[in-house]
């Protein structure tokens, strides 16, 4: 299977290549297309920074990275990569529908193609058809994140980068959105990189979980959950093998901190 993202000796952070301030170093990655990779780590380990390098929001400090076989910039310019921010980042003066359609109104004319789904279908997909003409401040936190996900999907990206998208939500809403996201992923077959600091979220969603350590930022371990999750690729939250995997992840994380 083709690789969605490949990296070798990658260092990410701030500063310039001449005077680097790396946050996360020595990252080797091989993420096949269609994988759901959870990235788990303490604050300051560089997990958001890593996503920003994949999205071409930051240049890498050292090492190489390819996204869908080319540079991150080329992937961004083709709209193959979409990003969901922790704070939803909806424009408050636009309705739900107008927010979802923003990607069809900005950027090079050739990129303003809608995906297979119309805005109405996307609204239905995230369960917000009745709220289509509401403004963001009239929505709950969970609804706002659903809008952000629909907006990310509107130009039909092949890679979805999610930076702690449900971090600010209550646990019940978060569990529900996790279920919806897992369904979406199975249905659309896109690659998802999902940054979180919740062990439960990482174990429940990820096929693999990349655990990062902080100070200095390093990849601690990549835990493969596919054997645990079996054919179906999913387990209920309370399933003993998943609980066991979570215990292992917690141990690695504690070791990393």
């Amino acid at each position: 299977m083709a690789l969605a993202i490949a990296a070798k000796g990658l260092a990410v952070g701030y500063g310039t290549p001449a005077a680097p301030l790396p946050v996360l170093e020595r990252v080797d990655l091989a993420i096949p297309e269609g994988e759901f990779l959870a990235i788990l780590g303490p604050s300051g380990c560089g997990k958001s920074t890593l996503l920003r390098v994949v999205a071409d929001l930051l240049p890498p400090l050292a090492g190489g990275i390819t996204v869908l076989g080319g540079s991150p910039e080329a992937a961004r310019r083709r709209r193959d990569v979409a990003f969901v921010f922790q704070d939803a980042t909806l424009l408050p003066w636009r309705t739900v529908r107008q927010n979802i359609e923003l990607p069809l109104q900005v950027g090079p004319a050739g990129l303003r193609r809608p995906g297979l789904a119309s805005t109405d279908e996307l609204l239905a997909l995230v369960g917000l058809l009745p709220q289509a003409d509401r403004l963001p401040h009239e929505l709950s936190g969970g609804q706002r994140q659903r809008v952000a996900i629909a907006r990310a999907l509107v130009s039909r990206p092949r890679i979805l980068l999610m930076d702690e998208p449900f971090g600010a939500l209550d646990e019940i809403t978060r569990d529900r959105l996790n279920d919806e996201l897992a369904q979406l992923w199975r249905r659309m077959g896109i690659t998802i990189l999902f940054v979180t600091h919740s062990v439960m979220e990482a174990a429940y969603l990820g096929q693999r979980v990349m655990v990062l350590a902080a100070h200095p930022g390093r990849v601690r371990e990549i835990v493969d959950l596919r054997p645990v999750k079996g054919e179906a690729g999913r387990l209920p939250r309370e399933a003993p093998p998943l609980v066991e995997a979570m215990a292992h992840l917690r141990a690695v994380l504690a070791d990393a901190a």
């Binding site: 920003r52 999205a55 071409d56 929001l57 961004r76 310019r77 709209r79 990569v81 979409a82 990003f83 921010f85 922790q86 704070d87 980042t89 424009l91 408050p92 003066w93 923003l102 990607p103 109104q105 900005v106 950027g107 090079p108 990129l111 403004l135 401040h137």
Partner: protein
């Protein structure tokens, strides 16, 4: 408080002040040529209506033109400052210094440069509008959050799209705040300009009636200038409602 009392109380408050002014001041022996009673002023507003309107017109024209020019210049300079750090670093301190000069001290200089016609009044009105709008517009254009800018970058939005679809809508609430300030200060600017030298306009009328001890006319002119400011303020509020209906903050 219910709706009726929130409307009624300010009216009662204003009425009580007018009543005290009407009946208590004469009792205290304040002569009418120093402070006329509200009734006298009201009568003057009616009998002098033609004269007041004739003088309000040039003042209104100067105020509106000053408002438009001053705010437009401020918005354009704000855009330049936001997009060019070096230009901002070089010139913002000078603008800041310019703003510390009291408008009353600046007015004679402007009259000296632009003569005695309508132009210096427009310039003074423009200058008085300029600074609050400049500062608010710079802040407004810099309101978008880091993730909002990142969103536009991921979408490969052009610099103009980021300006027009992100920075401008973000700046609108602050822009209207300063336009509301400017709506009343532009009238002050025009009147100050007329004080320095003019034979028409509410400012000229205020000076003339003061020197002639026509205090009832003076008060009527003052009330007319205040009404002019209120009118402009109302127009800006109306424009704000129209625009912000599409752009709620």
């Amino acid at each position: 408080m219910n709706r009726a009392t929130t409307i009624l109380l300010p009216i009662l408050g204003a009425a009580s002040i007018l009543l005290v002014w009407q009946f208590v001041l004469p009792l205290m022996g304040v002569p009418a040529f120093i402070v006329p009673t509200p009734a006298t002023v009201a009568r003057k507003l009616v009998t002098d209506a033609g004269l007041l309107a004739a003088n309000a017109l040039p003042t209104a024209l100067e105020s509106v033109l000053g408002f438009l020019i001053g705010n437009l210049a401020a918005v354009l300079l704000a855009v330049l400052f936001v997009y060019s750090r070096p230009i901002r670093a070089a010139y913002f301190p000078a603008v800041l210094f310019f703003n510390t000069i009291p408008i009353l001290a600046l007015a004679p200089i402007i009259v000296l440069i632009f003569g005695l016609g309508i132009l210096p009044k427009i310039v003074i009105a423009a200058v008085i509008c300029f600074f609050p709008t400049l500062v608010n517009m710079i802040r407004g254009l810099e309101m978008p959050t880091r993730s909002e800018f990142e969103l536009f970058r991921i979408l490969s939005a052009s610099p103009f799209e980021t300006f027009w679809r992100l920075r401008v809508p973000r700046s609108l609430p602050l822009l209207f705040t300063s336009l509301k300030i400017a709506a009343t200060t532009c009238v002050i600017g025009a009147i100050v300009g007329e004080w320095i030298g003019a034979n028409q306009g509410l400012g000229a009328l205020i000076i003339q009636s003061t020197f002639n001890y026509q205090t009832d006319r003076l008060y009527a002119a003052v009330i007319t200038s205040s009404a002019l400011g209120l009118l402009f303020f109302g127009i800006v509020v109306l424009a704000e409602r129209l625009v912000m209906r599409r752009h709620p903050a």
